[in-house]
């Protein structure tokens, strides 16, 4: 059974589009990436999982239970980190965390202090005195302190410095190894590429592709650069080649097709250097958004 099942999930805000006919499954202990630009519907999807909003149509199920009907049950085992973190300004960090922990059946005190230590969070400060990055840390700790089975991350790294991002990713990997399923929404492809096993790409409220990260990179274009003293870019203008460019005596392009064809083309030339790489997710991604 899939941990998260989404069937034809649709959400309109009045006439404004949220998401349309979104369907996918997330398996147990998977790190599932959810990628798209701002306004594509990433937050809408996660907010539907938490039943902060209710679907216009379709259904989302977590642990086999409908999110809209069994919200409190499901949320006992969900950790949610919103993209924008807001907490009761007048409260101290420790009081907010204790308040957060008081909603769960298990005792979260030990894990709470452990997480605060990892994230270097000062517990005695008031929320209103915290910087954005520090508030985000509060968000991470309150979202993970009950060791949830499903962790919903909505652009989790914004506001964190690179060092903290590293710690955060390490933390998420550990949670995952412990058995947690991770739903990771982001518009930063690099981090999704590093973390996730599968990825769904969402555009204007619709899912346009769901794929293994590896397949996405392998069954795709190769990124090829050929350097030569005298080279005619048009020689490479064959079927399967896109984005052919010549820059400083280096011809660069993306190629999809029989690799031998392009190898022959290259070997016909007197070249000084050749690189053949997997394209980054960014480059694949741009292709979907053209």
């Amino acid at each position: 059974m899939s941990i998260i099942e989404v069937n034809n999930l649709t959400k309109y805000y009045g006439k404004a589009r949220g998401i349309v006919d979104v369907s996918f499954n997330v398996e147990e202990q998977e790190i599932f990436g959810f990628i798209g630009p701002n306004g594509a519907g990433k937050s809408t999807t996660i907010r539907l999982f938490c039943s902060l909003i209710y679907p216009t149509n379709g259904q989302a199920k977590i642990f086999g239970k409908d999110c809209a009907k069994f919200g409190p049950d499901i949320r006992q085992e969900i950790g949610y980190l919103p993209s924008e973190v807001f907490y009761y300004d007048k409260m101290k960090v420790i009081d907010l965390l204790k308040y957060s922990a008081s909603f769960y059946k298990k005792d979260c005190t030990a894990r709470m202090h452990e997480l605060a230590e990892i994230m270097e969070l000062e517990l005695t400060r008031r929320i209103e005195d915290l910087s954005y990055g520090n508030r985000k840390k509060v968000g991470i700790v309150q979202g993970l302190l009950h060791q949830p089975k499903v962790i919903l991350l909505d652009e989790p790294t914004s506001g964190l410095d690179p060092l903290m991002q590293q710690k955060f990713f390490k933390l998420i990997r550990e949670e995952n190894a412990r058995g947690a399923t991770i739903f990771f929404s982001s518009h930063i492809l690099g981090e999704v590429q590093k973390m996730c096993s599968r990825v769904a790409i969402i555009k204007e409220g619709k899912i346009i592709k769901i794929e293994d990260i590896k397949t996405l990179q392998h069954d795709n274009y190769k990124k090829i650069k050929v350097a030569a003293s005298q080279i005619d870019a048009s020689r490479f203008d064959v079927e399967g080649v896109i984005k052919l460019e010549k820059h400083n005596g280096v011809v660069g392009f993306f190629y999809k097709g029989d690799i031998n064809v392009i190898m022959r083309k290259i070997s016909e030339q007197e070249v000084s250097d050749v690189t053949i790489e997997e394209p980054t997710l960014e480059e694949i991604f741009m292709h979907y958004y053209e």
Partner: protein
Amino acid sequence: MNIYKHEFGMYIRSVITWSLSIFALLFLFLSLFSSFSASAALLNETLSKFPPELLMAFGMNDMDLSSVLGFYGIVFLICQICLSIQAANYGFGLVSVEERDMTADFLLAKPVGRPKILTSKFLAALTGLTITNAVIWISSFLLLNLYRAGKSFDLRTLILLLASIVIFQLFFLTVGVLISLLVRRVRSVTPFSMALAFGMYVLSAFGGMLGGDSLDIITPFKHFEPNYIIRNGAYDLPLVMISVVAIIVSIVASYLLYSRRNIASAV
């Protein structure tokens, strides 16, 4: 219970401020009674020269300022205005403040159902209002006995007046919650609560002035008009029932609306 405790913590400062202010008001006003009552006959005569419409507007028609409760009725009306603002503040802010400050995302993503959240919030606000209510009870008894200038008053009528406070508060609390759920977003609580409280007061005042009874039928200032209760030693029961019905309808509708509400996001 955890939500209730947390919510109540948010009210403490406000409850103390309101309670102390109302105590100060009662104290200042009632301590003047002995000097007033000495020249009460003169005062009553002066009042009778005012146009009756004006006196009606302030609920002061047929008011005997020489009697303890007649005098108390005036300050009780001012208390009612304060109470209506306080209760409306809590009502309009009950769920809207969390949505305005974006903390609703935190609370509603916790494993707790919407009805339970609303109940906890209602009870926390009601506890705050009840503390203010209790302060009025205690200070009224205390101050009236201290400053009654040897005159007696009907204890039963005083209790009737004080007992009306809880329904009066509930009206503004629950109607405030309902309106806050009907509008898209409450950006600031004060304009809403002021509009509801003063709107209801003005409606009652104008109704009195015009002498008709069409408009003022909806306002609790009319349902629990101190002057009426003092003069008759009883509530105007059909009018009180309107308040009660409004409270019940508001509560039921609030639960229905809140359970289905889509919480707006930060961006």
